[in-house]
Amino acid sequence: MLHIIKSSPFSKSTFIDSIAYFDDGDAVIFIQDAVVITASQHKYAKILQDQMPKVSVYTLTEDLNARGLNCILGQQVSYPEFVELTVTHLQIQTWN
């Protein structure tokens, strides 16, 4: 399953809520305001790191660049690669 996370964990609990639904082999992509999760060291980055043996982590480059941020966790992907992830994963859950 591919989880799509869209909001900043500093203003909404969506990211924390989603973690209990991560299974082995799942992928997680951070887009929109959620790119702050992988952009620096903070408590939510630590929480994500604890999940990283279990899930593959991706962050959308365009959203990072738009905010002047750099990815320090997982892998950066472009829009076309994001689309590819949505095609290669049979199930997708977008956490609004």
Binding site: M1, D17, Y21, Q91, I92, Q93, T94, W95, N96
Partner: protein, 118 residues
Amino acid sequence: MLRAAFVTRQAPHGTSLARETQDAILATSALTEELSVFFIGDGVYQLASQQNPQAIACRNFAPTFAMFELYDIENIYVCADSLLERGISDIDLVIDVERLTQPEINQRIRQHAIILNF
């Protein structure tokens, strides 16, 4: 694999999202019977039976959950852990729903081809 899972995570009345999710579920039920509904997180508050939102100019949409049965929506689940975490495990719910633990909910969601999370 079942067709569609609706995962509803919003408390009622603060925003219209919970009510609009209910509308979407009812509308989708016209297209498929292979549909499940999962109330998790703050979404469990939608099921409380003693709501009186008219006082804050909101529609009381909880009684409309009773329509699910008429629309042949039978797979309805609530997260027992979310109820427990909020201290409302013993309140009356508007409809009969199956109580599952969080891991059981997760497992059940994964039996669906399409997952719509609100």
